[in-house]
Structures are given as C-alpha cells and as structure tokens.
Point group: C2
DNA sequence: TGTACATCAGTGAACGCGCGTTCACTGATGTAC
DNA sequence: TGTACATCAGTGAACGCGCGTTCACTGATGTAC
C-alpha cells in the first residue's frame, strides 16, 4: 500500500509522528466512501508504521478520530471563510460560502459523515457556524437579507446545507432520482430562501451540465 | 436477551420466519444509536434463533438490510401521508408532513441513518418523495404556495428536512449548541421557506419548552 | 389404521478474518563523565 | 576524545473478540401406500 519503507524520525522529533498519523487517517478516509474503513490498523498501514506505534502518540483509536474531527472542522471553516471573503459582495459571499460548504461535503464524503456522525467531540465546530452567522448578519446590516435573527437563520441555513451535502449522493440512485437536475441553481435557491436573500435574478443558461459526480 | 425459547413455526409456515427476522432487525437498530450494531448475529439473537437460520430466508446480510430499508421507507411514507391527510388545510397538512418526516428521523435515529447511508437499494423511497411533491402541488394549485415547480421545491424541502433530521442530534453538544432553541418553530420556518408558503403568523407563545430529547 | 419416508424448520460447531490492544523487545542516538 | 548509559522511536508476536458464512446434522411433521 505505502511506498518505500518509512524513515524513522530523528531523536526528539518523534512528535512529528502524531501529525503523520492524523494525515494518514485523513488520506485513508478520503479515499473511501465508508467511515467504517477508518480503523487503527488501516491508519497504521497508510502511515507506513506498525499498529502499536500509534499508541505512543494517542491513547486509543477514538483519540485519533477526535484529532481528525478537529482538523477537519478547521479545514471546513477555512474554506467557508475564504468563500465569504472571495464574494463580489456580501450576498455573493454568503452564497459562495454555502457552495463551499456543500462542496466540502461532496469532496470528502466519508470524512464529512464522520464529522457529524462520530461520537467524538469537536469544540471548534462552532467556529464554522459563526462564520455563516456573521455573513448573514453582514447582509442583513446592508439590507441585502431580510433576516431579523441571523442566529436562527444561520442554523436553518446550516441544516439545509447539511441536507444537500448528505442527501444527494452517488451510489444510491433510488434516492431522489429526479432526472437531470440543475444542482448549482437549486443549491443557490436553497441558500437564498433560508438566508432570506431575494430570489435569484433570471438566469438564462441554467441548463449547465451537472458535473458533481465526475 | 430474548425471553423464553422461541417456538418453532409449524410446517409450511416457515416463511413466517422471514417477517420475524426483519422485525427483529428493526427492533435491534431502533434500540441503538449506531447502525453498525445491525449485524447478522445480532439480528439472530434478537429474533431468538441461531445465526445460520437466517440463511434459509435471505442469501446474506445485505439482503436483510435491503428488506429493512424497504419496510422503513414504507413506514415513512405512511406517516408522512397520514400527516398530509390530517392537516386542517393543504398548507397545514404540508407543514405537518414535514414535522412527521423529521419526527420519524428523530424517533428512529439509527434506522434513519441506515436508510440513507446504506449501499442498498430501496425503490420505494421515491414514493415518500411523491407524497411531498403532491402536497406542494396541491398548495400551489390553491394559491397557498408560491411554488412554480413543485418538483424542484419538493427536492429542496426534502433536503432541508433531511438536514434537520440528521444535523440536530443529542450526544454531540459541540454541534450547534445554540442555547434553548424553539425547534418546532424553526422547523416550521424551514418548511415554509422551502415550500414557499407565507411566513408564519405571529406566534405569541414561541417559548415553549423543547421536548425533543426526552 | 399403520407405518415408512420425504420434507421442512431449523441447530451446533467450526472456519478464517480483521479488529483494538498489550507486551516484551530492539536498535539507533544523544549525553554525562 | 572515548565510552558507558539512559532515552527515544519505534517493532513483532500474540491475545481475545465478534463477525459473516459454511457444513453436516437433528428432530418433528405431514403424506403415500
């Protein structure tokens, strides 16, 4: 599985292994569709170390998973915040943030499921929420959103984004097989309705191909 | 685990065991929080039979799970359809349907996750979708909903409901710990926005206690 | 009415597997004197 | 500068477990004659 034999870390830098373990765990789960693939032995194989080596850096498997959660929520927050900042205006930034969120869920399908299904604890998950809430608040302040409670509306928006990210998935053609949907336009509509932005302006070329599952 | 020794089925009615196996599987998964608990050996224990007995009725474990999926989607459709019919008017029925949907997800947490995460195939899942779509169409026909595309709006509504059903869960206090939310009111707001019903009328006593996790 | 027999509804023991975790160890490397 | 030694970064073998599945069987029961 792994390439050449891994070189042992120099004296005093054994802590580096901790990072390698978390990175291996993320690579492992990102390469599959099923969070159950994330086993301690699998992580060790991916990292090119023996299974017991993990115990030098983590007390047990749940501790490794918790580290994966924390890093993943950081990543999610960064990507969502970057999208907010990249928007042409606050409303565009908010819509981009929603897209970035769902995109993360689609690109890291199993990891995303782990993030929300695991029994672990990720205290930094609220930071992503705060980014969304602040974006709505900014829009409301400028009169771009009709939101009177950014806190509640952010919650609703998150629920909607979470639904899109997890409901719409390949490999289950029984679910919502609705013909060729224009997913980007639908996602934007959901964001607008839940964040109380005005309906989208007329979009002439909404028949763009759906490249989601490629 | 099981009570007294199970009595063997009479001659010719061995097919009854099939029903018992599916029922045992549902009881097993409904009694836990983790879909991974649904093992073949666990199902056999729950049903009070030996593990190999299952092979007389199902080719393997995935086949049992598929039967669970099918029965579960039937149950979901029934409950959603009943809520539509029980509404005081079409709009009230639609809101009730959304509530019933999320309620199913909350009451059968692990099973609901299995329904959407499993790799199986449940052809009857579209029937629930059709119930929602028809409810929106009925509202639109009466001018109660501003929907111009019940099909797309039903999809969005489903995504929103799915998000609420799966995102908001006990045992993960890190996620969206937002203080005492008025969940019923928020759920209703999500349904109204996505199904394009008018905003809720002023609700004086929205501070009702949140009894969801009791 | 008796009885041999086929069928049916299961069971008990065993298999190989991957898992999380423990234990005793190995061998390189920096440090004290 | 040399060397004993403590420390560090891991490893290999083994444990017990629950899993899905296979196999040969058992014992009750309806049916043919």
């Amino acid at each position: 599985m792994s390439a050449a034999r891994r070189a042992r870390n120099p004296r005093g830098e054994g802590g580096r292994l901790r990072e390698e373990i978390v990175a291996a765990a993320i690579a492992l789960i990102d390469g599959t569709d099923d969070p159950a693939t994330l086993t301690l032995r699998g992580i060790a194989r991916q990292a090119g170390i023996s299974a017991p080596s993990i115990y030098g850096r983590f007390p047990d498997l749940p501790a490794v998973i918790e580290a994966v959660l924390e890093r993943s929520f950081d990543e999610l927050r960064e990507q969502v915040a970057a999208a907010v900042a990249a928007g042409p205006d606050p409303a565009g930034g908010l819509i981009g943030a929603g897209r970035a969120y769902v995109d993360f869920g689609w690109r890291h399908r199993a990891r995303y499921r782990l993030m929300f299904d695991a029994t672990g604890y990720a205290p930094n998950s609220v930071e992503t929420f705060a980014v969304v809430e602040d974006a709505i608040r900014a829009c409301a302040g400028l009169g771009l959103s009709a939101s009177t409670s950014p806190h509640l509306d952010a919650w609703m928006l998150w629920a909607g984004l979470h639904g899109v990210a997890t409901l719409d998935r390949p490999g289950r053609d029984d679910l919502l097989r609705l013909g060729p949907l224009n997913r980007p336009a639908m996602l934007e509509a959901i964001i607008r309705r839940l964040a109380r932005l005005p309906e989208a302006p007329a979009a002439p070329d909404q028949g763009a191909p759906d490249r989601r599952h490629e």
